[in-house]
Assembly symmetry: C2
Homo-oligomer: 346 residues x 2
């Protein structure tokens, strides 16, 4: 076993403490990564607090991981010691089913292995990236292009791919009108990515507080959803709406903003159901969909796209002793736009 | 003005009485149709009772119309006296917007003119097909192929196109697994059409009462939704689900039957909202959509497809004095599978 230092919570309402965790000894195809930076994702909080199902404590979150390869197994062909690499929300899958074959491991029929909170194929409970090291099979490691700094690259591994994938799947491109609901960690990436793909981007945010930011990030329009006029002005106008908000929203009001054949895609996951009026869908053949991360091949494509287009998340790098405080601020939407932990301070 | 005999209701809870209605004198592009048969659609009942918004009485329903051209305006080029023709749910649209241009008049930006319960571009309140004659501009008339009998053709104009259009739009074809929820007027057409398109069809009905029928209509499988095992057995298995039920269903249970990238399309329109758990959508990139009839071009394509494949609805032809009774039976789901009024008895 390989020992890593980590920050863990020992219960749903507990603060972080320093701990040691064990990573498996390198299998033939494994890569040992010295983690440099780990992003803080809202999912980390939901998961650690048991809000998305029971978890095992101590619990080490973190699925936005950027680091350097420090050791490789004997059959590793894709990476060498010193390579700049990343790991996102999954660390393994069956590798045999149709979805794995298609490079969409997130839909693996046996279920993919989550970076934390899963039991892997060796029977070990997975622990995430708020740690100094992680061991991952090479097929679930992606290369971070030289043009991307490691700290800024980290949030791309979840916030980046979670927004990139639906934008690609539903055809973000020049001539398309796309709205992004919520300007947080995911939302600000959706704006940057959709803009880089050539779409006309509108931000729908509760207030106009972040309007200047939104326009700088690449939006052409910015509307407050607290203003009822917004829903009249923008009725029937979007080809695609990416909803990054994980709280309950008035879903029918947002569906009414879709043009014929438009789709509203939730990447945020509210725990309460959203009551959909079927009449919001039928008369304009609208769709309400959900999307989850992306496959490994698409994650690499997204990193290369970001490098090529000079796209990186807006981040605030923090030391490891400030994770609890950062979580509080994430809960209060008080972050522009992603916290990244400097693992050297851990 | 042209006078037609008709059956009308004079209030939400009133029975039908015989009446006379006026149709406009033929404009240059108008066709006068002598109606031979009119199908009874569940929408007729919802509309006549004001359940989908206020209507004007006397109210003549009927948007599944089959008849013979008996007179044409001077600029009519598409039809001649004696032609076998049909009229569906719409009788006009702006003709200028992008959707009209694309042959999807149902999505007309100015709103299409409904066959009944609409105000047309001449300021007249439209009255439907439970009548001896109707006047319709030639672009909203379709040709009924010789291979289709007029009585059986009538229900194709709504029940046929309402199921044909989403099956085509979402790619019903060999290799696709499609479920049809509810085996009524729309459901039985969806089964026949999806089967003819080469898909593998499963009926999901409350009980197994109509199982033999369903298999005869073209389904390969038939399951009772009252049996909880059904939802376990069929989990993650359908590419497309056509929900024809207009009552409230447990939408998340049905969404759980969709494979990755699968879509559940409502063509039934429950008045209560359906509470969608976003977690029913996200992990498999599923969609929940709605669809409404189809354009005129697609309606003609559907009629030609039915003629070519020998598809026709199962109908029970009734005389005009039995409409009230037929409506009661539609409400009680006691029809196999569509009532058609013989207008010669009116």
């Amino acid at each position: 076993m390989i020992t890593a230092n980590a920050k863990a919570v020992h219960g749903a309402d507990q603060p972080f403490t320093s701990t040691e965790i064990e990573r498996r000894d390198l299998k033939a195809q494994d890569v040992l990564i010295e983690i440099k930076y780990a992003g803080i994702c809202h999912s980390d909080i939901h998961s650690a607090r048991g809000e998305w199902g029971p978890v095992q404590y101590p619990f080490v979150p973190g699925h936005e991981i950027a680091g350097i390869v420090s050791q490789v197994g004997p059959e590793v062909t894709k990476y060498a010691v010193g390579d700049r690499v990343g790991v996102g929300c999954m660390v393994d899958s069956c590798g045999k089913c149709a979805h794995c074959h298609d490079g969409e491991e997130q839909y693996c029929e046996e279920g993919m292995t989550g970076t934390y909170g899963s039991v892997d194929r060796y029977g070990q409970y997975t622990q995430g990236g708020y740690a100094t090291h992680i061991v991952v099979t090479q097929d679930f490691v992606v290369r971070i292009p030289d043009a991307l700094e490691l700290d800024a690259a980290a949030p791309l591994l979840c916030a980046g791919i979670t927004t990139y994938s639906p934008l690609r799947h539903w055809g973000a491109a020049p001539g398309k009108k796309i709205a992004v609901v919520g300007l947080g960690g995911l939302g600000h990436m959706a704006v940057k990515l959709a803009h880089a793909m050539g779409a006309e981007v509108t931000v729908l945010s509760q207030s106009l507080k972040k309007k200047e930011d939104g326009l700088k990030l690449g939006a052409s329009h910015y509307y407050a959803t607290s203003d009822e006029e917004t829903f009249k002005t923008l009725a029937n106008s979007f080809d695609l709406i990416i909803n990054t908000v994980s709280a309950k929203i008035d879903i029918n009001a947002y569906l009414s903003l879709l043009a014929v054949d438009g789709t509203l895609v939730n990447v945020g996951a509210p725990s309460e159901p959203l009551p959909v009026q079927v009449f919001s869908l039928i008369p304009k053949r609208r769709s309400f969909a959900g999307s989850s991360i992306g496959g490994i091949r698409e994650t690499q494509e997204m990193l290369d796209f970001c490098a090529e287009h000079g796209i990186k998340p807006e981040i605030e790098v923090i030391s490891a002793d400030r994770i609890d405080e950062a979580w509080e601020r994430v809960m209060a939407s008080d972050v522009k736009y992603r916290f990244v932990i400097d693992i050297s301070t851990l």
